[in-house]
């Protein structure tokens, strides 16, 4: 008899390299113990823009995800549009910096900083 397994709940992931770069930025900003707020705001060419902030503590009702020693805080409304996203880092001369691989994004603008759902 086959057993059905429930799909893993959608979450937000951060790659090891991205987490490492966040830590570097945190140290350079004089906030070595800070965590990362990942959110969305309205605007940008495509409709919604990704926002990254270094913060100390989560807000009430934030989703908290921990991976590679980095805590990510996501507010509930942003989470609706970010669930399943993997935050990666594209380095090197032609790199784009932090990259959001967001399965909810139907289109992205030319510079990749905004998306539509």
């Amino acid at each position: 008899m086959m057993q059905k397994t429930a799909p893993a709940p959608l979450t937000i992931n951060i790659s090891e390299e991205a987490a490492s770069h966040v830590r570097v930025f945190a140290q350079q900003s004089g906030k070595p113990d800070s965590n990362l707020r990942v959110s969305v705001k309205g605007g940008g060419c495509a409709g919604m823009t990704y926002v990254l902030d270094l913060v100390d503590t989560p807000l009430e009702e934030d989703k908290v995800v921990e991976e590679h020693g980095m805590k990510l805080f996501v507010d509930r409304k942003s989470y609706i549009f970010l669930a399943g996203t993997i935050l990666e880092y594209s380095g090197g001369l032609n790199g784009k910096g932090f990259v959001f691989n967001n399965p909810n994004a139907k289109t992205t603008c030319g510079c990749g900083t905004s998306f539509s759902v």
């Binding site: 309205g42 060419c45 919604m48 289109t107 603008c109």
Partner: protein
């Protein structure tokens, strides 16, 4: 004796008043209100100062029109004037894109009435009635009279005009200015080439083809739809523009009627009054004085094109 010019070749009056309370009025408060609206629409609302106003186009991410908003900075809050029938969609749109911003949007329409006074003499009459209309020169500049009435300079095309937003239930009248119905306002609007929702402004159209370029700031940075609008403008990719079509006064063209030139598709009629229409005309046929065929009844009639495009900046 100086006589003031008639408002219109079709009307024998030099002033007119209208009850336009069916248009939307939204009261917007919050520290992030201007910033958020600036991220959602075409004009640079960050430049707005108390007492001033600005028209801006709310656009989709495909650069299509949701509505042409008129935003007034009242000091402690913003007042957004929307087209009739669009305020619910505007509220939903703002709400969808509100995440952590400090902004509240309230429907001010149930608490207010809204009147339009057109014609140079209307300014005199409103000033005599205590509304100080003559002090308002810049488009959408406004003042508060008696603490409860907002007076807005809101010209209708080239006709000087003022709007009065009053507490609900008050009927604002000025001596010597007759109240007219929606059909007279529609006549003036089409004669002046002013686009309106939904006939000319809707989500099948972009702001450039609707001649709303003066309400687009190309240097402000990103807003929803900016990439599409900027590309259309930079690469001259706008396919059609709004124009006037002049026909015999006995003919009223039907909205949606097809335009052709030598059998080729040239566009369609958007709205009309006897003898005149607003229409979207393909760019390759767009020329002042050009002739087009318009589908009418069982056949077609000839119409003459009148150019409505705003002048290009130097």
């Amino acid at each position: 004796m100086i006589t003031k010019a008639s408002l219109s070749p079709r009307l024998s009056t030099d002033t007119a008043a209208f009850d336009i309370s069916d248009s939307g009025r939204l009261s917007v408060r919050g520290d992030d209100a201007l910033d958020l609206l600036n991220r959602l629409s075409t004009n640079d609302l960050e430049l707005l100062q108390p007492g001033g106003g600005m028209a801006t186009v709310l656009t989709t991410n495909k650069g299509r029109i949701i509505d042409l908003l008129r935003v007034l900075h009242l000091g402690d809050r913003l007042l957004i004037l929307t087209s009739p029938g669009t305020s619910d969609r505007v509220v939903e749109w703002i709400d969808f894109y509100t995440f952590a911003e400090d902004i509240t949007v309230a429907d001010a329409a149930p608490d207010t009435s809204h009147f339009l006074f057109v014609g140079e003499g209307a300014g005199d009459a409103l000033s005599e009635a205590g509304f100080g209309a003559w002090d308002l020169v810049e488009p959408l500049s406004h003042a508060i009279a008696d603490g409860t009435h907002t007076i807005v300079r809101a010209d209708l095309g080239s006709i000087p005009a003022w709007e009065v937003i009053a507490p609900h239930g008050q009927d604002i009248r000025a001596d010597g200015i007759e109240r007219h119905g929606a059909n007279v306002l529609e006549t003036l609007r089409i004669e002046q080439g002013v686009p309106a929702f939904p006939s000319e402004l809707n989500d099948s159209r972009n702001p450039l083809e609707a001649n709303l370029k003066p309400h687009i700031n190309f240097n402000k940075g990103c807003y929803i739809g900016q990439e599409v609008v900027a590309r259309l403008n930079t690469y001259d990719r706008v396919q059609r523009f709004l124009c006037q079509l002049v026909v015999d006064d006995t003919i009223t063209l039907d909205p949606g009627s097809a335009l052709t030139v030598d059998g080729a598709d040239a566009g369609e009629v958007a709205s009309s009054i006897p003898g005149l229409a607003l229409a979207y005309l393909r760019k390759r046929f767009y020329e002042d004085g050009a002739r087009v065929q318009v589908q009418h009844a069982d056949g077609s009639v000839q119409a003459t094109v009148s150019d409505l495009r705003p002048p290009e900046d130097d």
